[in-house]
Symmetry: C4
Subunit: 278 residues, 4 copies
């Protein structure tokens, strides 16, 4: 953002502020990001410590003060962010804008509703900014592959999840009828919870079939789970492999000397768009 | 279904009814589908609520009445479906025809056998119709890829499941001999249930080996399970990848009129091997 | 096995016997196989029933007699198999030969060592013969793909398993020091068992960390398990995909008109071995 | 290391020692490696046995002596290794150098801090040397594929793990607020531990949701876990497949001297595009 034309002072400090807060390339911006990430980590650890009964009994007041301090700090930071961007509303509505406001609300909320300060840990999501400090582009492209693969498979996965949910309702109802309330399957929602715990191979064991018929059905569900857990893995693997391929093909392209078109295959001898010899 | 020839009135309303009930493109058909899906969801939730003891104690009668109401509604809908199709028997024998009849039978059955009304939740399967309302073709093609991949891998998977079942019987018997009835492994079927719970990595913990030898065998089973759980995932991934490839290739195969080469891209205008206009 | 030359009678019945026992194409052979599979299933179910205390109390004698009957039956069948093959010793040493002898030994063994008759269920492995009756070739080629993929990945998997075993010993020892005997981790072998249960995501819960440090290490182990469980899946998927590819390529080959060589690529114009135009 | 020039005696025995200790091709080197691996296995088993209370009560002194013996043995071996290499410091800082020193330190440490001798099992890592004795190159190339695949996916996996860790902190905090201390979720760290146990599908069951809302959130987490566990599997599979491809391609790339085409098979003698002898 090196601008050669002179600027009015008010714009100048906004640009400078924007550079510090939003960019990670300059020394000031990098220092700001590192301090910010440190503050986030420390503040999340403070909330965690506060949740431990024995710690709260001894250091409750100190931790509460520290929490308040970080909330004020993050509030100031949030306001600075808002005034340093050209379109504050647009920033406030973006993913990180929402996370930022969620990161300061809980403490204010906890003045009225006790206990909500633990929601404070949502500010951990701000840590995802860490990729800006690390070798930015390399990590972002990896993240892009991952998210684009997940986005490409979103329809397959929603078909899959709807099918699994229907299955789980039917299996849960069957199990409720077979095992009944005396074996802990005391309602259909509870039985559906059991079916999810089993199909996903989590298997807490807080609920497990007691009757022979229930065990037989559970065995069937588990063997079905074998096949079912393979489906999302297969979907994501195929999409990841195609996303990686697409990225590679885009790079390995050769442009046509005549029409300039790209995206030719490795073994192409003639341009497939204009017929010129490559 | 726009027919230009005049129709006798009786056929006309059947066509109209068919359009409303079976199609999702017209406003009336879409409205019908949305109301139907709403009714299914509400009726399934009612059955779930009824299964919760505390809720049943207070609202038992109201829920029972609501359930009866939905059963009558779905019975009428089922009859309308039957008279609006040309071949009612063929519809009654199709997947959704069977689900439809299963969705209304339990309530009538529960008049004679108490408890069976909970099977009512099988009507959740009717929800799979939801894909008709959403962007139809896109979701159906995804579902087609998934089911065709699963169908293509059905032989591999049946070889796999038969092998796993044999393994599980042998492992269960060994465990029954090693651990014995005093450690909960009170019969071979119970031990087979344990082996399935372990191999599928569900691991409830309602049964777990107590003797050193049993723990050693269990460790072996778990490490085997590592490799075994990889097999269905591998099968489904490979089939999914081939199904996706086939879908892509089927559309794009076009041979060059001059050299006959195939495998051109969708957007190819000239043959990439000899430069002839495609 | 249609032989036109006349045979001495003794060889003739051996051939006939071999045809019935070992082949599934002729009506007699198919009938024999179906009866055999039925007998195996019934005999395994009998052993399972015998292992259930309440069933044994009532039908113990009948089940024991039935078990004896099947043992005699399988002994006769085993002897017939031996005399109908040309090289009995070679058959006895093959996979199915060993399974056959293991399937009859336990009952005789149980005359001296009570309890060993439950090993009888090993005869379930004989069920793998079922693939001979079903559409033989199709299933066998699927089984071949699976086994060849597993064989191709056997080195990678042994590197993997040795690494996991080393890891598990180190993690188990750490956990033994951290948690100690008062939390159930009463020896290093027990702790190794816990590490295997955790890394494979089985998670019985019969042993689980109680101290904060133990929980932190366990969390680390579980997140490592994430990556670790992905490795065998990846190995098997890649090998399966290559095995499927190899099978396909072998079929789509075109032989050279000049040297007769096969295995050319789809887009080959000239034979890669002798240079002849294909 | 066959050197034709004469050597001063001191260098000669160092070379000879290096050959025995570090190489596995000569008979002496192979014998040394086999004895070493046997000693490692025996010493690890001794530490394991010592950790079992009942065994320690009876054979405690013998085991302790044996442990001391192996520590002296491995100390001597470590010193021999150091004096037989040209750059002892560089060896001491390598992976196996560190493992070697870690393998002897615990016993000396346990003279001052009781209990630390169980860390002795870290010497199991020395077993990874076993690949040197087995068919070296074949296993090493497999190990290379595995490690290069894991290294290539290290960025994707670190993006993935950071995302999962953030998710787990948020989910743990939510669960702490929903379930609270009366249901065992007695602090945010404990709840995060629960979230990790659930997301990784380990599912001990030492902590499981008791309230309906908690069960609903847990169900959501488990279904998310479905998709999440698919991601590392997909990453590793794609990288493994590319690493295997790269290994294959690196060897087989040879361009045609006439038309310059590449991508010929290993066994190709003529170019498949223009028929020129390669």
């Amino acid at each position: 953002m090196s601008l050669s034309t002179p600027k009015p002072p008010s714009t100048h400090w906004r640009l400078r502020l924007h550079e510090i807060i939003f960019e990670a390339d300059t020394p000031a911006g990098k220092a700001f990001d590192i301090i910010l990430i440190g503050s986030i980590l420390v503040s999340v650890i403070i909330v965690m410590l506060e949740s431990i009964g024995r710690v709260r009994a001894v250091y409750g007041d100190e931790l509460h003060l520290a929490e308040l301090f970080f909330t004020v700090l993050f509030t100031v930071e949030y306001l600075l962010r808002l005034i340093s961007v050209k379109r504050p509303l647009r920033y406030a509505g973006s993913f990180f804008g929402i996370v930022d406001i969620l990161a300061i609300l809980p403490t204010y909320l906890s003045l009225f509703v006790p206990g909500t300060q633990y929601l404070f840990t949502i500010r951990i999501l701000r840590l995802l900014r860490i990729f800006r400090i690390l070798k930015l582009s390399a990590y972002l492209s990896e993240a892009t592959i991952l998210t684009s693969a997940l986005r490409a498979s979103r329809r397959k996965i929603s078909v899959f999840i709807l099918t699994v949910l229907s299955l789980v309702v039917v299996l849960g109802s069957l199990m409720y009828i077979i095992e009944g309330e005396e074996n802990g399957f005391d309602s259909i929602p509870t039985s559906i919870y059991w079916a999810i715990v089993t199909l996903t191979t989590v298997g807490y064991g807080d609920l497990s079939p007691q009757t022979p018929l229930g065990k037989a059905l559970a065995s069937l569900v588990m063997i079905m789970g074998y096949g079912i857990i393979a489906v999302p893995t297969g979907i994501v693997t195929v999409e990841l492999s195609q996303a990686a391929l697409k990225l590679k093909q885009a790079v390995s392209s050769q442009s046509c000397p005549s029409c300039g078109a790209e995206g030719h295959d490795f073994d192409a001898v003639f341009c497939k768009y204009c017929g010129t010899h490559l």
